[in-house]
Structure formats: C-alpha cells, structure tokens
C-alpha cells in the first residue's frame, strides 16, 4: 500500500446479506471498531483497542459490508492535509507528490485508488469534503444530527458528523442510507421523517436538475485560485445545460466563518481532549511527580504539535478575561452564518461553490504555517457552523490535471436535494 492510506489493515466481516453485502468499506481511524485498534492518527492512542463498535460500524456490519481497514487521518481530525498524522502522511493517488486533503485523507485516497469500494470519514470543518475534492471522489457531510456520533472519538461535538465517501454520488447515497437515522446512544440524532423527508437517498441520485435553482455566494469565489474558479464555472455551465439556473447571492457573515469555526472547534477540543491523561488509556506519563506533572508529561509525549496548538488556543479562548472576546463572539458569528444560509436557501434550492479554494498542495508545503492551512477551510467551515448538509462532487480537473471539487449546500435534512443535484455531474 504505497499510498499509506491505511493505519491498520484488518478485515471485519459483516452479515451475509444486506444492501452492502458485496462491498468493501474503509473506516476512518477515529471511528471505534470493537477489537480493532483505533488510533485517531495519534501516538497517544497507538495501541488503543475499543471494547465496542461505533453505531455506524454496527450498521455497516448489519448491512453486510466488509470493513477492510482503518484509514489514516490528521491527528484527532486536526488538519487539512493528513500530514499531522503520527503515522506519516498519505499520498494523493492522483499525484503522489501532493496531499490527499484532510482530515479524512486516508479514506478518500483508499476510495480513489480502488483500495476500498466505499469509505467513512468524519467532517468537523470540511474533513470529508476536502479530501473528496482533492482525490476526485464524492463526499457527503450530512445535516447535523442525521448520523449517530456514538463511538466517534470527539474533537468538536457541536460541529462534526460522520459521512460517506464514494466514487459516485449514487454509491455515496447508498452508504448514507445505511448510516442515517436516530440512535438512542446519541441524544443529538434526529429522525429525518420528522423533518418532512425520508431516507431514500439512492433513488434521489437520478441526475434530474431541470428547474433547479442554484445560488452562488460571491464571497466563496473571492480569493479562490483562478484554475479552481474556471473549473467551477465549467461545472455550473454543465448544470445549466441540463436545465438548472443560477444567480449570485451574498453571505456577508461567511467572511468571519473561519475564525468562528477555529475558536469554537479549538475550545471544544481543549475540553474533549482533557480525557487523554494516560490513566484510562493512552501513553502513561511516567513522571515521578503528582497528577498534574504526570498528565502534562503524558500529553507532551502523546500529542503532536498541531493538537497541542489547538488545545492551547482553545484553553486560551475559554480562559478568564478572553471568553467574551473570542468564544462568545464566535457563537454570535455562528448564529449569523446560520441566518445568512437560511435566507439564501429561501431563494435557491442549493448553494454552490468550489469545495476548496485551492488545488491539492504539495506535501510538506503547509505544515510550517498553520494560519494559511486554516484559511484553506474558508468554503467548508461555514456549512458546519450552520449545521447544514453539503456534498462535494468532482467538477473537473485544472489544466495541470488536478481535481477540483464542487460543493453543493442544501437546507437542513435536504440530503436528497444535494444528492439529486450532484448526481447530474458524477
């Protein structure tokens, strides 16, 4: 496996029959698999073996899928390139000198290279859509609450969702059908049938975009790479030729989405990752000192630099004197982003943008400058702040042959709308 898409290759057999009986699925390594180690791409959990399955893994098994391994990822999901993994970077199968995107880079690379038919990723600020775009495959970030997070090792609970990665929209929709639906073990799950829809996602992949109204937020094109923007408009032209229409919309709030996202995600991370103290699991701090010294030593050893950076910045944003300045303002920005999206979606069926403002970076290019890496998430993070569903579908390639993703955002529980629209392209 020269791409290093997997951290652990191990076969987990599912039921004999079911909708996924003949399919192989790669599972991101922050999703718990009973008896199979689950590292989150971190040295901290190098030999952690969960005693239970995540709900989505149970559902895969019941659906007959064969899990083929646990995929590489940015440590605890914290990255946009899969380079912050303690197990080394994954290569992009389209161009091995480039990153596959992140944080679910191993999952997208495995699907793009045919090492698995389908994959599970998790998306906190773009971690399914970014690698799907960079590897030229399809990824869906579901509406917040559509898919159970039970057994997903938490990074930022209020933002993240598990979702499918697949070669085509129809296959991604088939996998979403298996994953979606309420779970009594995750109190934030909601039943789509209470929200005026159903779970027949695969049937929605009929490619019918006749009469579809597409809003294009101008803010999400500003500052994007020229080759990306060109490919994006080609895809919109293609949708138009199939009967869709587009109009420009403005979402002034999204100018603040990246900073709001990072303040909220880092704050939640600083709390979530407090559990890694080397006592119940993880690397033991072997300091001879007291609790605090032992924890601090275990966490220095077990966490990589990006994780330390985010936990520290989150601690800072929540600390006395700074809470109102950062965390509270970020929550205001989140509410503003939600309002903007609701308004724009009252006059359009979907909102379209490039998934990523840039083509896949060269490996090693982004690690020294964290802020620049954060800014690459400009188009994906607003969707998590607004709790909405979004799909990334291949829009075409740049002249250099690098994949560009088209992101389509729908209203809450509008999965069928974005699946139908996306299936006109892939």
């Amino acid at each position: 496996m020269s791409l290093d898409a997997f951290i652990t290759e191990e076969t987990i057999e599912g039921a004999d029959d079911g909708p996924l009986a003949d399919r192989t699925v790669a599972v991101k390594d922050n999703i718990s698999t009973e008896g199979v180690r689950t590292t989150c791409g971190s040295a901290m959990l190098d030999d952690y073996v969960p005693p239970y399955d995540a709900t989505v893994v149970e559902r895969l098994k019941t659906a007959g899928a064969t899990v083929v391994g646990k995929t590489n990822m940015d440590e605890f999901g914290m990255g946009t390139t899969t380079e912050t993994s303690a197990f080394g970077p994954t290569k992009n199968p389209v161009d091995e000198s480039r990153v596959p995107g992140g944080s679910s880079g191993g999952s997208a690379a495995a699907v793009a290279a045919g090492e698995a038919d389908l994959a599970l990723g998790s998306d906190t600020g773009g971690s399914i859509r970014c690698p799907a775009a960079f590897c030229g495959v399809v990824g869906i970030k579901p509406t917040y609450g559509l898919v159970s997070r039970y057994g997903l090792v938490a990074y930022a609970n209020s933002l993240e969702q598990i979702g499918p990665i697949a070669p085509s929209v129809e296959e991604a929709a088939e996998l979403l059908e298996v994953l979606a639906g309420p779970d009594e073990r995750d109190g934030t799950t909601r039943d789509a049938t209470d929200h005026g829809t159903d779970y027949d996602y695969a049937a929605a992949a009929d490619g019918d975009v006749d009469g579809l109204s597409i809003g294009v937020p101008t803010e999400l094109l500003d500052g994007a790479d020229e080759a990306v923007v060109e490919t994006f408009w080609d895809a919109i032209d293609e949708l138009e030729s199939q009967g869709a229409s587009y109009h420009e919309v403005t979402l002034p709030s999204v100018e603040h989405a990246v900073e709001a996202y990072y303040v909220i995600a880092m704050s939640e991370a600083s709390s979530n990752l407090a559990r890694f103290d080397g006592v119940r699991y993880g690397e033991s701090g072997d300091a001879d000192g007291n609790w605090n010294e032992s924890f601090a030593s275990a966490r220095e050893e077990g966490f990589g630099e990006e994780v330390k950076r985010r936990v520290l910045l989150g601690t800072y944003a929540l600390s006395a004197g700074y809470h109102d300045k950062y965390y509270k303002k970020a929550q205001d920005a989140r509410a503003w982003v939600k309002q903007d999206f609701d308004e724009a979606l009252s006059e359009a069926d979907v909102l379209a943008s490039p998934t990523m403002p840039v083509p896949p970076m060269k490996r090693g290019e982004s690690l020294d400058d964290p802020l620049t890496m954060y800014l690459a998430d400009a188009n994906t993070t607003p969707v998590n702040l607004a709790n909405l569903p979004a799909i990334s579908v291949p829009a075409g390639d740049t002249d250099d042959g690098l994949p560009v993703g088209l992101q389509l955002v729908g209203p809450a529980f509008g999965e069928k709308t974005i699946i139908r629209a996306g299936s006109a392209l892939a």
Partner: protein, 92 residues
C-alpha cells in the same frame, strides 16, 4: 505582525492550564504563531450581536439498569491497574 500581545510566559501559562509540557522550541514557535492566529481571530470584534433562538429539546429516557462494559473490558486499555481499579499517579 500582530497587535495581540503574546509572550512566552503567556504560552507557558496556558500550557500549564491545559496540562501539556512544552519544550523551549515549542514555546518560541507557539509565541510567534499564536500572535498571528489570535490577531486573525480579532476580526470577530466586527461581528454584530445576533439574537438566536436556540433550537434545543431535552432528550429523556427512563433510568433503567442495562448491560454495560465489564470491569475487565473497561480496564483493558489502562497502562496500569490494581485490584480491578485504574491506577493513577499520586494526588499530592
């Protein structure tokens, strides 16, 4: 460069709150990077106050005893255990 003052002592203080030891190189790098990142976050000052109705519903269930992990399963990943308990460092 940033207007947000961040000095090495502040980085050490936050690291202490977060219970993460840092080496001196990390303190130096984080001091520079945090100034950069925090000054970018300062743009949140321009965000208006937004009245948002939180769309929250309590999810309740009967408090019934049900099967959970066995003690052995719960302890399986602990680096150190003693007599069926987690073993941690000394408290003082």
């Amino acid at each position: 460069m940033s207007e947000t003052p961040v000095d090495p002592d502040e980085v050490r203080h936050v690291a202490d709150l977060a219970r993460i030891d840092l080496d001196e190189d990390e303190v130096d790098r984080f001091t520079v990077q945090f100034a950069d990142i925090l000054s970018y976050f300062d743009a949140l000052d321009d965000v208006p106050e937004v009245e948002a109705e939180a769309d929250l519903v309590n999810v309740m269930r009967p408090d019934e005893v049900r099967e959970g992990l066995s003690q052995e399963e719960a302890l399986r990943n602990a680096p150190e255990t003693e007599d069926g308990y987690f073993k941690g460092p000394s408290v003082s």
